[in-house]
């Protein structure tokens, strides 16, 4: 059964149809939320809130876009509101971004390497949280979740051109924030520039 039929059934009060929709999208919404908050409990709460909102506003869905896109839009807006509420945009001191080991050219093997990678991730995630929501959102959708330009444009209701320019500015700002932890050593373009 496609999304449209399920939405129509759910609107008529068919809880089973809504259950199918939830099961179809719960992982996506959870992963989206997790990408922003990096905390399982908060991501789960946010995903639940999103589906409650969707259930309450199902009658407002006009089939102008895919159900998944509409759901994603609600999720992104809800997560943005959450980030604003908890005030996580406050500036994080550079010392808190990481231990300065981000730039280590070659991670040591084994446990230490894992620890190093984890430190890098924490530092980048903290830097993301200090960025304006529109940059945080676009970087998370593109570079963490891997959405296409078209999907991002549809979710955020902006043009692909705006996605392009905003993504460029977001990446530049992230690099600027992480500048103290980045070095050129051992990281040529062959490390990722395709």
């Amino acid at each position: 059964m496609d999304d449209k039929s399920l939405v129509e059934s759910a609107r008529r009060g068919d809880r089973g149809a809504f259950e199918t929709l939830v099961k179809r999208y719960e992982a996506k919404v959870y992963h989206l939320a997790y990408g922003f908050v990096q905390d399982p409990a908060t991501a789960d709460d946010l995903a639940q809130d999103v589906f409650v909102k969707v259930y309450c506003h199902l009658s407002k869905f006009k089939f102008e876009s895919e159900f998944g896109t509409w759901l994603y839009r609600i999720a992104v807006n809800h997560i943005k509101d959450h980030l604003r509420k908890i005030g996580r945009r406050k500036e994080v001191p550079l010392q808190e971004l990481g231990s300065g080991r981000f730039a280590a050219p070659d991670p040591a093997p084994g446990r230490e390497a894992e620890q190093l990678v984890e430190e890098r991730r924490t530092a980048v995630h903290k830097a993301l949280l200090t960025m304006p929501p529109k940059y945080n959102v676009i970087l998370t959708l593109r570079d963490v979740r891997g959405l296409s330009y078209e999907e991002i444009a549809a979710t955020l209701k902006i043009s692909p051109g705006t996605v392009d320019s905003r993504l460029h500015r977001a990446r530049r700002q992230l690099r600027k924030k992480m500048a103290p932890y980045l070095t050129m050593e051992g990281r040529g373009l062959e490390g990722g520039g395709k």
Partner: protein, 162 residues
């Protein structure tokens, strides 16, 4: 191609493949510019880290928990409804009480003092009769004195000036 263009095209190349000429231009610039090469490496490191951020694993019984929440929204317990109305009634009641108290304090009094003429009229007495007794005095001096004494009797708060 300057460094600014190279940076932009490099980042763009991660999202969309460049045409052969564009790619060749970029490669040429990067080969000649160590700064841009380094910058490209930094961007790549950041991108790899972002790609590697954990996705998390959804918690079990997602639907069961969600369904319970939806049930609670659709069929709220009577106590919950009552409590909701009570919570709404509190500010309204406080506003009305404030309005009442404000009215008592700030509205002018309802004229609880009555003039002598009003009091006489209330008793169905003629307020002119009492006055006419003073005015009927034949002697001017007596008449004036009677009026002065009468005035001082009626307004005890007025004191003669020294």
């Amino acid at each position: 191609m300057n460094c600014r263009d190279a940076e932009r095209i490099l980042l763009l190349s991660w999202d969309r493949p460049l045409d052969a000429a564009g790619q060749a231009d970029l490669d040429r610039h990067l080969a000649a510019c160590p700064g841009c090469r380094a910058r490209g490496g930094e961007y790549a490191a950041l991108r790899d880290t972002l790609h590697g951020l954990p996705q998390g694993t959804p918690r079990p019984y997602f639907w069961t928990r969600l369904n319970a929440r939806i049930e609670a929204i659709e069929n709220p317990a009577p106590l919950t409804v009552w409590r909701k109305w009570c919570l709404r009634a509190i500010p309204v009641s406080l506003f009305l009480i404030g309005l009442f108290i404000g009215g008592l304090i700030f509205l002018p009094g309802g004229g609880d003092t009555m003039s002598q003429s009003e009091a006489l009229l209330l008793r169905n007495a003629n307020p002119i009769i009492e006055t006419s007794a003073y005015l009927d005095e034949t002697k001017g001096v007596d008449k004036n004195m009677a009026i002065i004494f009468a005035a001082s009797e009626r307004s005890p708060e007025r004191k003669p000036r020294p």
